[in-house]
Symmetry: C2
Amino acid sequence: MKVIIAGTGAMGATYGSMLKKSGNEVIFLDLWQENIDAINKNGISFKNIGVEETIEGKAYLPSSYNESADLIIVFTKSMQLKEMLNDIRHLISEKTSVLCLLNGLGHIDTLKEFVKPEQILMGVTVLTAGMKGPGIFEVTNYGKTEIQNIVEEGKENALKVVECINNSGLPTVYSEDILFSIWRKACINGTMNACCALLDCNMLQLGKIEKSRELLGKIVEEFAAVAKKEGTTLNVEEITNLVCWFTTEEFQGVKHYPSMHQDLIQKRRLTEIDYLNGYVSRKGKEYGLDTSFCDLITILVHGRESVLIGG
Amino acid sequence: MKVIIAGTGAMGATYGSMLKKSGNEVIFLDLWQENIDAINKNGISFKNIGVEETIEGKAYLPSSYNESADLIIVFTKSMQLKEMLNDIRHLISEKTSVLCLLNGLGHIDTLKEFVKPEQILMGVTVLTAGMKGPGIFEVTNYGKTEIQNIVEEGKENALKVVECINNSGLPTVYSEDILFSIWRKACINGTMNACCALLDCNMLQLGKIEKSRELLGKIVEEFAAVAKKEGTTLNVEEITNLVCWFTTEEFQGVKHYPSMHQDLIQKRRLTEIDYLNGYVSRKGKEYGLDTSFCDLITILVHGRESVLIGG
């Protein structure tokens, strides 16, 4: 299979490297010239579950590459997805599947502006990887990847893509209800990410504040109300139990600072809040739902962005 | 008039010193032994609008003093009011007026547990003072003090107290609607204090965040809804205009960090949130009102307390 990785950060580099090692033709696209140059010169330096590897790679700016592929995997920050899709629209042919594994909500609408529904594949992954510098990456946990077509006509391609990624060594399954998985993961991020960023704390500390369950449960309720309007049923109590479990000692990564905390507090970068609580707040208004907690959380996270980063 | 200052922090020391200088008998009570000792040894060292003064003072622990007074002014942090009233209950005679100038909501209920309604005087002050160390204080702005009895029978005493404080040099007026003034000030504190503490910013920065007016206006709305149930009508738009004005360059103190920011972020102390947004949240539930923004703000401020101070 010919695969284009559209966005060669930690996640893109990991999927691309694994796919390349297992015999696929892989092209890496990125917007960061230093990263492109490093990959072309030195290959992808890859610490793969502790094992050091170097994978030869061809990297380009999207505008400098002109050949289509069977599969494009988009791997940007949520707020850069639209720009990336615009940059690669010349690479999407009739036979190209476009797979989106980004966290967050609202990406299907964005994809539909550039890709026919039968070519869109959505997925969720819990793989964890990091970028150490231009061309230098580390994957610490393969996690599981779930993938599904968004309309029936895409199923055959989805199954092929699942097989291809699975064969590369990354455990991947076909999902019968990817929207549910996307919403469930969004609930986890919309509670852990947003609250830990606002309170400047890790997940264990979040679990220990007064009314922690009330806070997390109310956020999940609001996510579930919007999900329901969009055709996905979430069991509020089950998901609340799940997110609360992430704040207990029982969960190994409990002292982890979620990615939004890392972005906002540690790296002073804009967050993905508009694709989590911000999406629920925006859609809640459209559907006439009360999403006050997500409304306020979104205002406060943008407020922290403004105070810490300016703008 | 014989006056007892129950709580000799910056505010208590200022009112006490001014009352003493103008010929009243003043007793200073406090719970901090070092402060008591410093006052008894060196008097009150007072930087009074730039002028250095020393006022001789007699200071005691509440339990070490046994004589009643015409007026007791309580000047504690909100959360210490109840304990202080309990400590001074033996000093409250039939002829004692008890004046409370604390910020925040809910104090009348606390006062009523210890003092007859006809002896309770409520007030609002915008005087600004600071404590520099044991026995050392500074007042930077006399502001205005408003005072009213909470039941008609207390009016005569209220007028006497207004005259007495006014004669001391602190501009003081009799208020025809002290509840309105208390609620209006609570709106200012419930917006500026809570939001600047949560966002770790000053008032100018608060004014510059996206949806600042929506945020502040929604908080004011919730305060107004509870106030209405308690007999006070607040004009939401007027008060929202007022609080928004505090975040503009036009307001001189705009780069000021409100007291809750100082308490929580700078000094790592517990905040008075339960007497502002927390009161509205609690009472809102009792009255069946939606006070989601105050609910979440209260949870988050207590969350920050837990993260920063432990607990």
